[in-house]
Symmetry: C2
């Protein structure tokens, strides 16, 4: 986790921009501008709209990455948004990761993978890459970390931890998610005392044990939603070597004050994600007009994202760097 | 679930072939035979080995699909094996699903996706497809069902259930997985009585409630490992409207007798997966030789898979259709 923590410290900004594009978040003139380009590239006409949207997602992401690269340490593309467009979308997910990495950002792939041991080992190639020519390794996904699901237990996580350690990368396991229904399973009280998510928290702390870095945190982080501020504070104390990825800020209701307790006494220990609040900021800017051209609309997307990212950074600085 | 049950009944075979290729499972001369073809298609030389393996996976899968299409009702490609090769692999995953669907097989995409509500809605496009030209829907993934992870609760599942209902498809939620570490979380005892996986089982039964079909089972199935025969039997009674996908047969140790209790009194209610036991049967055939050409090796893969699939079918028939 040292690389992420150093990047946060360098920019004095514990926030990550979620690159979760949807059709509604991309100005329609941007999508329209790729109609001709796509038509020659797809195999069948029925693919055109999805392929066009995929290209638009990429240009949208590039505009945002360029606009925030000097402000934020990391981006978090959510692969679901890309899978929703089929394999054209998955290509754009990987291209987005690659572009962000080239711009010097830490790339946190929000893939929430998880399976039994032998299959988890296949997923772990997200971090370890695949064999290239002459035995060299080739990294097709360009992620510095991925999120994982803990429901299958240790043997589903170990391959990721080993891959992370070998490649100087990290993982983040779901512990306490930000959604309303998260309580149904995660909050269940155990006969032995404590709740399911607390038991998972203890597993996560243990999974990371052997990989604690120079900054005091292991390569196995935890996802802890901003919508649970009290629980997050308690988890901070319970998991002293576990770095937190905190979703649920902004559009989902979490505030800077809500997340402050998830940081340690030095103002480290967590990174807060905002997706729609940054990448959809153009829609609330009051400066958008349907008559704009595609380039002008993308400029507005970029400007608005930058302003929102600066706002978020400044709010977090006040709340966290006490 | 009616479509799957009808397909099982038509073939009198409650088994599914797991298409989980790995480099070790594909005869090396098959991989080698695609070296030239791939070199012109990739963007950079470093991609060649992974792209070559991806093409080999596709030919391997086609050989197996052709060999078993008249025997088995369904195939279950495991997307992890394809993601392990990057986006070239993901393309081959979708191509494999498409080919299997064209051969009339029910395609169960083992993707184990799961996320918070708004993001789960994006993943649900695996089932609902995406908008094509003129508002028509285009299906880029070609899956009849997908597996999902329940850790995030109801709002992470509802979008999949809705998509399944709208598209006459199904989902299978993890309940009790076949791996050794599954006990760490799934077997925890709850203060209210019962264990975590039993609580999840009750949620799954409820998630399916409104979608029970003519054959008595809902569109929300459950993954219950063959390695837990007693628990599987108890879950069969506990979840009367939930169809089971049973992994862990064969290579993982589960036998036909172990899975018999997961079927209902009519011999319906479950489908049993075997992956390595079928697709890797050529390695145990005693008929493989390194001097074989690529076509000859693929023929052996196909023949051996067909023999193993027939064996499995016959063993299950004896154990299940009592």
């Amino acid at each position: 986790m040292d690389r992420l923590i150093d990047a946060i410290n360098a920019k004095q900004n514990p926030s990550v921009v979620g690159l979760d594009p949807t059709e509604a978040l991309v100005p329609p003139q941007v999508v329209a501008s790729f109609a001709d380009e796509v038509r020659d590239e797809v195999e069948s006409a029925e693919e055109v709209p999805a392929a066009q949207l995929a290209v638009a997602f990429y240009e949208f992401n590039r505009a945002i990455i360029d606009a925030v690269a000097d402000i934020v340490p990391a981006v978090k593309p959510q692969i679901a948004m890309y899978e929703a467009l089929g394999t054209n979308g998955v290509d754009v997910y990987a291209m987005t990761c690659e572009y962000a990495a080239e711009r010097g950002l830490y790339v946190l792939g929000d893939v929430k993978r998880g399976d039994i041991g032998s299959t988890a080992a296949a997923y772990a190639h997200h971090l370890s890459g695949v064999a290239g020519p002459d035995g060299a390794s080739y990294d097709p996904w360009h992620e510095d970390a991925v999120t994982v699901n803990p429901y299958l237990g240790t043997d589903g996580i170990t391959p990721f931890v080993e891959a992370a350690a070998a490649a100087d990368k990290d993982i983040f396991a779901l512990v306490r998610t930000s959604n309303p229904s998260s309580s149904e399973l995660q909050e269940l009280e155990l006969a032995s005392g404590g709740r399911v998510y607390e038991h998972v928290a203890d597993l996560v702390e243990r999974w990371g044990e052997a990989t604690v870095g120079e900054r005091g945190y292991s390569r196995v982080g935890a996802v802890v939603g901003a919508t649970h501020p009290e629980e997050g504070k308690a988890l901070r104390a319970r998991m002293p070597h576990t770095f937190f990825l905190v979703p649920g800020y902004g559009a989902q209701g979490g505030t800077a004050a809500d997340v402050a307790g998830m940081f340690d006494a030095e103002g480290s220990g967590a990174i807060v994600n905002s997706s729609r609040g940054i990448i959809g900021a153009w829609r609330k800017s009051g400066r958008y007009s349907e008559s704009m051209g595609a380039d002008e609309a993308l400029d507005l997307v970029a400007e608005s994202a930058r302003e929102a990212a600066i706002d978020m950074r400044d709010n977090l600085r006040v709340a966290v760097y006490r």
